[in-house]
C-alpha cells in the first residue's frame, strides 16, 4: 500500500515537473497589449472620464460582472443570516466589559478607519481602490465597534435598509443607463466633468459609492450575525 502511494506521489510530482519545464520553455514575454486591453487603455479615459482605468473597466465596461459579484456577496450574507438564525429571546448576552485600552483606542481609531473607507470608495475613479475595498475597510471598522461597545445592542435594521436602498439604486442607475445613454450601467447619464476631479467620470462615483455602502453593510451584517451567536448557549 505504501509503495503504491509513494509511486502515485512520484508520478504526480514528475508530471508537475514536466508541465513546468514545458511552460518555462514556451514562455515569451509580450511586447504589446492584447487587443481588448489596448482598446481599454487607449479609449478608456476618453470614453468614461475616469482617471483610474481599473475602475472604468470594473464599473462601466464590465459593469454586469460587478452586479454579479455584488449579488454573490448578497447571497452569501443572506445564507449566513439564515443558517445562524436563532430565536429572538435567546440572543441575550452576558459579556464582560471591554478593557480600557480597547475602548479608548477604538474611540480614536473607528472614525479614522471609517473615513478611510469612505474616502476609498468615493475616490474610486481617481485613486486605487473602490467599492469593494472601501466596503471591506468599513466592515473592519465595524469589527472594532462590536469589540469596543459590546454591551450595547446594535440593530440589524440600519444595515438592512442601507443594503436594500443602495442595491436598488444601483440597479435603477443601471436601467437609467439603458434609457438615457448607451447601455446597462453606462456612466454617461451624468456629465463627464473635468478629468481628474472628484465630480467627474459621470455616474461612476455614485455607482461606486452605492456598491461600497452595499458591500460594507453586507460584510458588517455577517460579522454582526457571528457576534450575536457568541455565548448565547449559556443562557439556555
Amino acid at each position: 500500500m505504501k509503495i503504491l502511494r509513494n509511486s502515485a506521489l512520484l508520478l504526480i510530482v514528475g508530471f508537475m515537473a514536466w508541465m513546468m519545464i514545458h511552460l518555462y520553455g514556451q514562455y515569451e514575454s509580450r511586447d504589446a497589449l492584447n487587443p481588448v486591453a489596448e482598446y481599454y487603455a487607449v479609449n478608456g479615459p476618453e470614453e468614461t472620464g475616469a482617471a483610474n482605468l481599473v475602475t472604468s473597466i470594473v464599473v462601466t465596461y464590465r459593469g454586469l460582472d460587478t452586479l454579479g459579484e455584488v449579488t454573490i456577496l448578497f447571497l452569501t450574507a443572506a445564507i449566513i443570516g439564515l443558517l445562524l438564525r436563532t430565536e429572538k429571546g435567546s440572543r441575550k448576552k452576558s459579556v464582560r466589559e471591554s478593557s480600557e485600552f480597547l475602548s479608548t483606542a477604538s474611540g480614536i481609531l473607528i472614525p479614522v478607519i471609517t473615513l478611510i473607507g469612505i474616502y476609498i470608495f468615493m475616490n474610486g475613479h481617481l485613486t486605487p481602490g473602490g467599492g469593494f475595498q472601501g466596503g471591506a475597510v468599513l466592515a473592519s471598522s465595524f469589527i472594532l465597534v462590536l469589540l469596543a461597545i459590546s454591551n450595547k445592542r446594535i440593530g440589524h435594521r440600519l444595515l438592512d435598509y442601507t443594503e436594500a436602498i443602495s442595491g436598488i439604486s444601483f440597479i435603477l442607475l443601471g436601467i437609467l443607463g439603458i434609457l438615457l445613454a448607451g447601455g446597462f450601467l453606462d456612466n454617461r447619464i451624468l456629465p463627464l466633468g473635468n478629468f481628474g476631479t472628484l465630480f467627474s467620470a459621470g455616474a461612476i462615483p455614485v455607482i461606486y459609492s452605492l456598491i461600497g455602502l452595499k458591500v460594507g453593510a453586507e460584510l458588517s451584517n455577517v460579522i454582526l450575525e457571528l457576534n450575536q451567536i457568541q455565548g448565547e448557549e449559556e443562557e439556555l
Binding site: V54, I120, P128, G129, G130, F132, Q133, A136, V137, A139, S140, I143, L219, V222, I223, L226, N227, I229, Q230, G231, E233, E234
Partner: protein, 83 residues
C-alpha cells in the same frame, strides 16, 4: 536590487508563517499566522504595482478573515467546554 532582496525576505517570512499556520498546536497562533501571510502578500502586491489588489488583500485577508475566524474559534471553544 534592494527591492528584490525585500521581496525575497517577505516571501521567506510568508513561507515560514504558512508552515506555522499548518503545524502549530494552538489554533489562535495559526489564525494570526495566516493573517500575517495576507499582510505581507499585500505589501508584495504594492511592489508588483497592483494597489487595488493590495487594499483588498489587506482589509479582507488580514482584518475581516482573522476576525471571523476568531469569532468561530470562540464559539467552538464554548461548545467544547459545555461537553
Amino acid at each position: 536590487m534592494i527591492q528584490i532582496l525585500l521581496l525575497i525576505v517577505m516571501s521567506v517570512i510568508m513561507l515560514v508563517m504558512a508552515f506555522i499556520a499548518i503545524h502549530h498546536k494552538s489554533l489562535q497562533v495559526a489564525v494570526i499566522a495566516s493573517g500575517i501571510i495576507s499582510l505581507f502578500a499585500s505589501v508584495i502586491y504594492i511592489f508588483l504595482a497592483a494597489p487595488d489588489v493590495a487594499i483588498t488583500e489587506a482589509s479582507i485577508g488580514s482584518a475581516l478573515t482573522v476576525g471571523i475566524f476568531f469569532y468561530i474559534l470562540n464559539k467552538i471553544r464554548h461548545e467544547d467546554i459545555k461537553k
